[in-house]
């Protein structure tokens, strides 16, 4: 460890700090993770932070500063450093021909990035990747990467390295999003028009992130153009969107407002059979920022989304997220950057059932109030320290009932306080070796206002009544993290990392699909924090000046305190759902390959994952290991984008994966005249494997004055593969002594057209 703690002070001469912001020249948007280098000192290099801020301390002298960022022209400037210098760097957007959708290591910049398993999506370029219904979607594009698996066809839910869907920390401008899907998963909550940047970290998150086991998806909204007004829009067959951005005061403040609405329900109303179906969602992203002075900037951002689904008066369900973030960026000194955030997040759902005179409602809700302080300290050119704290007050109300026929519900909301302290250092040990190491200390305290039952071997042994204003049990977990990157040659680097992640909130779901009615629950006396330890190693190899790149990662993950249900658990109506829970462990391991072509008229990637994911839960499968549902042995995605000329481009996606692990019956029997099925081991069977190909053509119209238009035509499932969505066993209606196996599939040949404009 001594090696890591060693800090180099020795430069011996006067030192000055060069700092400032990196921005897009055309829009004024802050540039995240731009790479800054000094040509004369090749071993140095820093990255701009999430707000575009950078700082480098250097001895007195003349230097050439080189700044590079994907999708932008290289910036070069001669500087004379004989006092501290503030320099705003404006980057010019590059010719779009060279865009790459996914960027995990920029050209020759692997050196600067010790992060393992990190993928950043380029929002401009994902519009060319075909997706169902023609709606570009970061969550669906992410699923084409190794180690990331879709929760189902057309579904925006995802699993990372064998983790469950609730083990992904999804942040929208730092606010956790508890349900990232619209329309039962067919759309994600992210309107790509409002999004600047999305980064997925597969389990090796730096210490400033925490709270979920498998991954961090950090989504940043655009700040809004502070130079010029822009209107952006898209018309599709299923949904349309519009956004407006512009300066409030030029170069000082700006805003963006972006909205989206689906209208499938309009078509349904026209048909007799489905005219009472209600099905739509809308969402709204808002953000504004104000530069108080050179050292202080304030950001306000908000998201509001709602889904409505129903069948006439008989049934209705609506759900949605609300998030709000206030952030204050402060440059405390030339080398110390501070961001303070106050975040609010709210997810709730309501179910209404009406049946003649009877009506019945279910509501559930989770609310967070979150305070965060994050310091970036550019200690010296070799060490960048990051430290801070995060304190979240959770208020979780599990499903509560009301209605004409029901007793008042005794369930109350529970409060929990989640705290974290962290520190990490990005240490550039030499030209070739960089290390990011840190520690996060997380704690979760049960708070008063409710009774907590304690169960031992299915029996209620004690009840702890916690008064308001009092604290119950506190769980404290240290989470050490380290990743290292060693550059062997200009085109080869190796990486290794270890991370422990702890999760204090858990999603209870009793259906095999993700449903808006799944409910969150915090730690308690029975539910202990989930813990994941992940060990990974990787190799990145480039060819032809890194035009081609192959990255390989191997991981092994060990999971503790995993949750599941007993058979027949009534999660909605039980007075205490904890009495129906089972606990156990899990393990996941795999190999991920990603081969990319980053430049040229044809760009794209091939991704392959070979993996295994298992659980062992007391009380399930005779306490033996079994495949988790999302265990898919092989997972392949091929993405190609071919740019014919500046107007036309064609892209295609092919995916293949092993079917989910499921439980099929082995036999059947009869009780009271009805056929029932006999089962052996859990998840011992497989759904048929899935594969399909999608095609998309984009036409960019010649720019007329200010108006820029484009058309996107896409065809989902080109060869009409019937991928199994569901498999059921039933009596053959023609011969009741025979059992039929019926496969249901969705989505054969879904064409879509999207028109987009910008002025």
């Amino acid at each position: 460890m001594l090696f890591f703690l060693q800090v180099q002070f020795s430069y011996g001469q006067d030192k000055f700090v060069l700092n400032g912001n990196v921005k897009d020249q055309a829009t004024g948007e802050a540039m995240i993770r731009a790479v800054l280098r000094i040509e004369e000192l090749p071993s140095l290099g820093v990255l701009s932070n999430e707000y575009g801020f950078y700082a480098i301390s250097l001895p007195r002298g003349k230097y050439t500063l080189v700044v590079s960022q994907l999708g932008y022209e290289k910036y070069k400037e001669r500087i004379q450093l004989d006092s501290n210098l503030i320099l705003t760097i404006l980057l010019k957007p590059a010719n779009t021909l060279k865009e790459v959708v996914v960027e995990s290591g920029r050209k020759n910049d692997n050196l600067l990035k010790p992060q393992m398993g990190t993928e950043t999506l380029n929002l401009n370029a994902i519009s060319k990747v075909p997706v169902i219904f023609g709606e570009k979607d970061i969550l669906k594009t992410l699923q084409l990467l190794p180690g990331v698996k879709s929760a189902g066809e057309g579904n925006s839910g995802f699993y990372v390295r064998g983790g469950a869907a609730d083990q992904n920390l999804i942040l929208l401008d730092e606010a956790p999003v508890y349900n990232a899907s619209h329309l039962l998963g067919f759309f994600s909550t992210f309107n790509s028009d409002a999004i600047k940047d999305a980064t997925l970290i597969k389990g090796n998150g730096p210490a400033q992130y925490g709270g979920r086991l498998s991954s961090v998806l950090d989504v940043k909204m655009k700040e809004g153009n502070n130079q010029d007004f822009n209107v952006n829009g898209g018309l599709g067959l299923i949904s349309s969107r519009l956004s407006i951005e512009g300066p409030l005061q030029k170069e000082k403040s700006s805003f963006i407002l972006s909205g989206r609405r689906t209208y499938a329900d309009v078509f349904l109303r026209a048909s007799d059979e489905f005219k009472d179906n209600i099905l739509y969602f809308y969402d709204l992203n808002m953000k504004a920022n104000y530069k108080i002075d050179e050292k202080n900037k304030i950001y306000l951002s908000g998201y509001f989304g709602r889904d409505e689904l129903g069948l006439g008066d008989a049934f209705g369900i609506d759900w949605g997220n609300k998030t709000g973030t206030i952030r204050w960026n402060r440059i405390v000194s030339s080398r110390l950057f501070l961001n303070t955030s106050l975040i609010y997040s709210d997810y709730n759902y309501n179910v209404k059932l009406k049946n003649g005179l009877t009506n019945f409602n279910i509501n559930s809700n989770i609310k967070d109030l979150n305070l965060k302080q994050d310091y970036t300290f550019y200690f010296n050119p070799k060490n960048t320290l990051r430290f801070g704290f995060n304190s979240i007050l959770h208020n979780i109300t599990p499903s509560t009932f009301s209605g004409t026929v029901i007793n008042s519900n005794p369930k109350r909301g529970r409060n929990g306080l989640e705290n974290a302290l962290y520190i990490s250092n990005y240490y550039k040990a030499s030209d070739n070796l960089s290390v990011d190491y840190g520690l996060r200390l997380s704690a979760y305290s049960l708070m008063g206002g409710d009774a907590y039952n304690i169960y031992e071997k299915d029996l209620l042994v004690n009840t702890v009544q916690l008064d308001k204003q009092s604290f119950g049990k506190t769980y404290v977990n240290p989470e050490p993290r380290i990743t290292a990157n060693y550059r062997v040659t200009d085109q080869t680097s190796i990486k290794a990392g270890y991370a422990r992640n702890v999760q204090h909130l858990h999603l209870l779901s009793n259906s095999t699909a993700s449903s808006p009615s799944d409910q969150w629950i915090g730690n308690s006396y029975n539910i202990k924090p989930e813990i994941a330890d992940q060990l990974s190693v990787g190799l990145v190899q480039g060819w032809k000046n890194n035009t081609y790149e192959l990255s390989t990662e191997l991981y092994y993950k060990n999971l503790q305190n995993q949750l599941d249900y007993k058979d027949g658990a009534e999660i909605f109506t039980l007075a205490d759902v904890e009495s129906a829970l089972l606990f156990g462990v899990g393990r996941a391991y795999g190999l991920e390959l990603l081969w990319k072509k980053k430049e040229g008229v044809l760009t794209g990637w091939i991704s392959y994952t070979l993996s295994k994911t298992e659980r062992k839960i007391n009380g399930i499968n005779q306490n033996n290991w079994y495949n988790a549902k999302q265990d898919r042995t092989h997972d392949i995605s091929i993405v190609g984008i071919y740019t014919l000329n500046s107007r036309w481009s064609i892209s295609s996606v092919f995916v293949y994966n092993t079917g989910d692990a499921v439980t099929f019956p082995t036999g059947k029997y009869s009780i009271q005249g009805q056929t029932l099925y006999q089962y052996a081991s859990r998840n011992g069977n497989r759904m048929p494997s899935n594969h399909r190909m999608d095609l998309s053509v984009t036409y960019d119209k010649k720019r007329k004055k200010r108006i820029q238009e484009s058309w996107n035509f896409s065809l989902y499932n080109v060869y009409g593969r019937e991928n199994a969505f569901q498999i059921n066993f039933q009596d053959d209606p023609k011969d009741l002594s025979r059992t039929q196996i019926i496969q249901t599939s969705l989505f054969r040949w879904v064409p879509s057209v999207t028109y987009q404009f910008k002025f």
Binding site: D276, A314, I317, Y679, S737
Partner: protein, 264 residues
Amino acid sequence: MLKKYFSTILIGIFLLGCEKEIQLALDPNQSLLVIDGSITDEVGPYYIKLSKSNSISASSNFLAMTNALVIVKDNLGQIDTLKHEKEGLYKTNKIKGIYGNTYYLEVQVADKKYTANATMPQKVALDSLRINPFPFNSEVRYNVIPVYTDPIQLGNSYRFIQKINDTLDQTFHVFNDNLNNGKVNQRPLRGGSDSLEVKLKDIVAVEMQCITRPTYLYYYTLYQQSGAGPGGGTTPSNPPTNIIGGALGIFSAHTVQRKQIQIK
């Protein structure tokens, strides 16, 4: 319940969905003894049916177990050795079904012994059946509400068997009083997409059973598992049973009441 609405809407929206029969290579089945037995408060005799489970691809005309020793005892000391009547049906001779009594079942097949017990719950009166019309896509649909008043003590469980014009509704209708303890029931027998529709003029016959907690758990688990697959349903398994010894099925002691109504 929710998942049924979800899948109805899902399939409805994406008209592109299609169904077909497929073949699957399934794991070999271990044939087990199946016990299907009930003691009710109706006048005996009562029957215990024994059969063997079969593989999926085989016929659903299951093999009857005809050479078993079947004994039912009660907590009053009655011991009744059942007689094999035909096709695996074993008939009681003298035991009487009375609520509050506990019944003990013993089944011996070759050298294997299976046991179960069940205490018959109190009878809760089925007062009437109420027709419950509701609008649905500009037509009127119907279902039936069994009207009964749940007793004041918590822990009552019910099963309803519904026949529409003599056709059995395959949905497992089981209710408990978790939410409406002590109240008059207003919950209808809601058919899922896989059950029959109730139309005007139909005759709906309902059998109400006051059942034990294990019987409730057995049928509720089956209900949750119906419609398994990514579209809904929990991961299936053999439902929890009160039979000890490794047999499938359930031994139930319940009360029986029947009523029928014509939809008008």
